[in-house]
């Protein structure tokens, strides 16, 4: 792979140095532009064509992944995609205020999410519906955020899944602190691995420009915190390509902080599972943190309010369709005799039922009552806030006769 020096310091007489806005072919290959190429250092265990590649480093982390487990990962991804598409449609029908699609990122989320143990903690951004699903959170519990009936429905402690964080990058610091706590609690480096815990935090390529992400890397590093920084590089931060966030391939930033960084094919569920298991294992044994850059692609818009046709070409999308995370598992299962058509049909039927339930639930979600505005602002509610609540509720009660 070309080094940064090659493009920032060209040989004498070789012409002007390439810039981020005018990249050289080497920069493109190195992943400095939105591209279908992950570069030579991409860890991939399952090709887009469904061929299983042997990998002496990471295969041990898949020793228990038999055909049944692979069918399970396939099912996970199909259900998550179906629920994502249904939610997107429900936004279009006015049932959700907004939806944040994960289309294309199923392998990164299911693979990394399935690598977690129940005692681990995950800090999501706002697109991690697939990770939420792997943590056991009912997809229906996510809808309140996007129907705007609540800010976060689930119990974070019960599922090991922090609330969605919408401010870009905030959660990386919160996760670093949580992981420091795991270490202070003696949950790292125990001889009995069952005693050990780790934290994973999700963020995107755009977030890597945030100061909080930098500070989160620093804190995790200097406190040897058991935290896996899982960056889903989906190539686009709304309209801005990764080259607007970084000269260097993102995983290489880890070196500057003093911990390992690795780029994994984010559309390869086996690679995401194996690499994340390895990274969590490192963290649990006191060798954290680890940065994983899952090289993937946002197949749909940033949110339902976005229009990607204004900033990217459809041939890029077409190229990534050939690397679909679900199709390669399907091809592998079919080719290796791991599943017959009955299985695939069965999963599709289950996904339809999953979506139908989601739809029924969404359409009947009640609006919260006005008094909800005032609840749980404080553990110990100030008298003035109680008074404001009572005043407003009695004002509302004045309309009880229907004059509202």
């Amino acid at each position: 792979m070309p080094s940064p020096e090659q493009w920032t310091r060209p040989d004498p007489g070789a012409g002007p140095a390439a810039t981020a806005a005018q990249p050289s072919p080497e920069q493109v290959i190195a992943g400095l532009r939105a591209t279908t190429e992950g570069g030579a250092e991409l860890t991939q265990l399952l090709t887009p064509e469904g061929e299983r590649l042997a990998d002496s480093r990471f295969d041990p982390y898949l020793a228990d992944v038999d055909v049944e487990a692979l069918r399970g990962l396939y099912r996970d991804m199909v259900l998550v995609r179906r629920a994502d598409r249904e939610s997107n449609a429900m936004q279009r029908q006015g049932q959700l205020g907004i939806w944040v699609p994960l289309l294309g990122q199923e392998a990164a989320q299911v693979g990394s999410g399935r690598a977690l143990r129940p005692g681990d903690m995950a800090f999501p951004s706002y697109r991690e519906h697939g990770v939420a699903y792997t943590r056991g959170i009912d997809f229906r519990e996510l809808l309140g955020i996007f129907r705007c009936t609540d800010h976060s429905g689930w119990d974070p402690a019960e599922y090991g899944f922090h609330p969605y964080t919408i401010v870009i990058g905030n959660q990386v610091l919160n996760a670093a602190g949580y992981a420091m706590g795991q270490k202070f609690d003696g949950k790292v480096g125990n001889a009995d691995d069952a005693e050990n815990e780790a934290t994973i935090v999700y963020f995107g390529d755009g977030a890597t420009s945030q100061g909080d992400v930098h500070e989160g890397f620093v804190w995790g590093a200097v406190y040897d915190a058991p935290v896996v920084y899982f960056c889903q590089n989906n190539q686009w931060a709304i309209s801005e390509p990764t080259e607007r966030q970084s000269r260097l391939p993102l995983y290489q930033r880890a070196r500057g902080y003093g911990f390992p960084g690795i780029r994994v094919d984010g559309n390869d569920v086996l690679a995401c599972l194996a690499v994340t298991r390895w990274a969590l294992d490192e963290c649990r044994h006191g060798n954290g943190p680890v940065l994983i850059e899952a090289f993937t692609y946002r197949m749909d818009a940033h949110t339902t309010t976005d229009d990607p046709t204004r900033y990217r070409l459809s041939d890029e999308l077409e190229a990534w369709k050939l690397k679909d995370p679900i199709e390669r598992v399907r091809a592998h299962l079919a080719r290796a005799g791991g599943a017959e058509q009955d299985f695939f049909d069965g999963v599709d039927a289950e996904a339809d039922e999953f979506a139908a339930q989601l739809r029924d639930f969404c359409f009947t979600m009640p609006d919260p009552p006005p008094e909800r505005i005032f609840s749980e602002v404080y553990a110990d509610t100030p008298a003035a806030l109680d008074a404001q609540r009572e005043e407003y509720l009695s004002y509302l009660a004045g309309f009880a006769g229907g004059e509202h």
Partner: protein, 342 residues
């Protein structure tokens, strides 16, 4: 400086020691750390050095590096990781070295710390304390003398308090740490080591509630409300006024969010006049909020408009000019005169 309410040589009990505000804060932290192993202290230079004001002096030596953390030099990181530690079950006490450096953490404070309980409807809590040395009068360079407490008092979900004597310093620290709500403790840096404010602290006493204001001097001519570094100024003004035969009532607001204005209303209904003193600029400030609520609750009792004696609506000036900027005895008495002569 006004004499403290209690005698500085009061040693009635073995549990009573006379100390400065800075030492009382230190002792309060120590008591909280002894009572609860989940209490952590974190910030820049708080460990080996004991903090640039020495408020955390000796704590790392006694409690270890895992309970008193010398952190990397980044304020958002301090508060952001404290939130994660709090979610994990710890009770972090963050020190921001000077109030002028808090703004990188404003995002974490406003977006995460203040809203975590609300966002999860009580499933998560964030019992983080943020200690902020604030205020001027120390002849410092820029960003070391400001009073940003109104900005934080405006944020729902946060609580904000300020101490002005050693007894409050000792107890407010512990009460803030044991609160399940996030609390910002604004500490008057000018008064940390004031020997004039030394006072006996009885560690077995029952403290006032954290979120209560208190009448610290009784009078009937007019009411002065102040907090933190402005409280001694208000008390000095009351002493000077007494020499002219005017008895001023002085109230230490103590809690800035939520405000506890019951004692202020009660006082203004008797005196008919209120002067609010604060080093912060007045526009859209706590002083303005007090004035608004007093006119709402005490409209028919007021004999004069509420007076505000504050810093000017400018950035903090070069310190050679701070005597002009900071409310002093003469400006307070001038405002009292205005109220009385209205």
């Amino acid at each position: 400086m006004a004499a403290p309410a209690a005698s500085p040589v009061d040693n009635r009990s073995a549990n009573t020691q006379t100390m400065t505000i800075g030492k009382a804060l230190n002792n309060g932290l120590r008591a909280a750390m002894e009572a609860d192993p989940k209490v952590l202290v974190m910030g820049e230079d708080v460990g080996k050095l004991g903090g640039v004001f020495r408020v955390t002096d000796g704590l790392q030596k006694d409690f270890g590096e895992h309970r008193v953390l010398d952190t990397p030099l980044a304020e958002s990181g301090i508060v952001g990781t404290a939130i994660g530690l709090a979610v994990r079950g710890f009770r972090p006490v963050c020190e921001i070295q000077f109030e002028g450096f808090i703004f990188p953490a404003f995002d974490q404070i406003s977006s995460q710390l203040a809203k975590l309980r609300y966002r999860t409807q009580g499933k998560l809590k964030a019992p983080v304390v943020i200690r902020v040395p604030f205020g001027g009068g120390i002849g410092a360079v820029e960003h070391h003398s400001e009073s940003p407490e109104s900005l934080f008092s405006h944020i729902p979900g946060l609580k904000v308090v300020s101490c002005a004597n050693p007894v409050d310093a000792y107890w407010m620290m512990q009460q803030a740490i044991s609160s399940d709500d996030p609390v910002m403790l604004f500490e008057p840096k000018k008064l940390y080591h004031s020997s004039a404010l030394k006072a006996p602290v009885d560690t077995t006493a029952t403290p006032d509630p954290l979120h209560s204001s208190r009448v610290v001097r009784h009078g009937d001519a007019a009411t002065i409300a102040a907090y933190g570094p402005s409280l001694p100024v208000a008390l000095d003004a009351a002493t000077a006024a007494q020499e002219e035969g005017r008895n001023l009532e002085v109230i230490d607001l103590r809690t800035l969010s939520p405000l506890d204005l019951g004692p202020v209303f009660e006082s203004v209904r008797r005196t008919g006049r209120l002067v609010v003193v604060s080093e912060a600029s007045s526009e859209v400030s706590l002083a303005s909020e007090v004035a608004a609520r007093v006119q709402q609750e005490c409209f028919y009792s007021l004999e004069a408009p509420v007076q505000r004696v504050t810093g000017f609506d400018t950035p903090y000036p070069p310190a050679k000019l701070e005597e002009h900027f900071l409310p002093d005895l003469d400006r307070v008495l001038h405002a009292v005169d205005n109220a009385l002569e209205w």
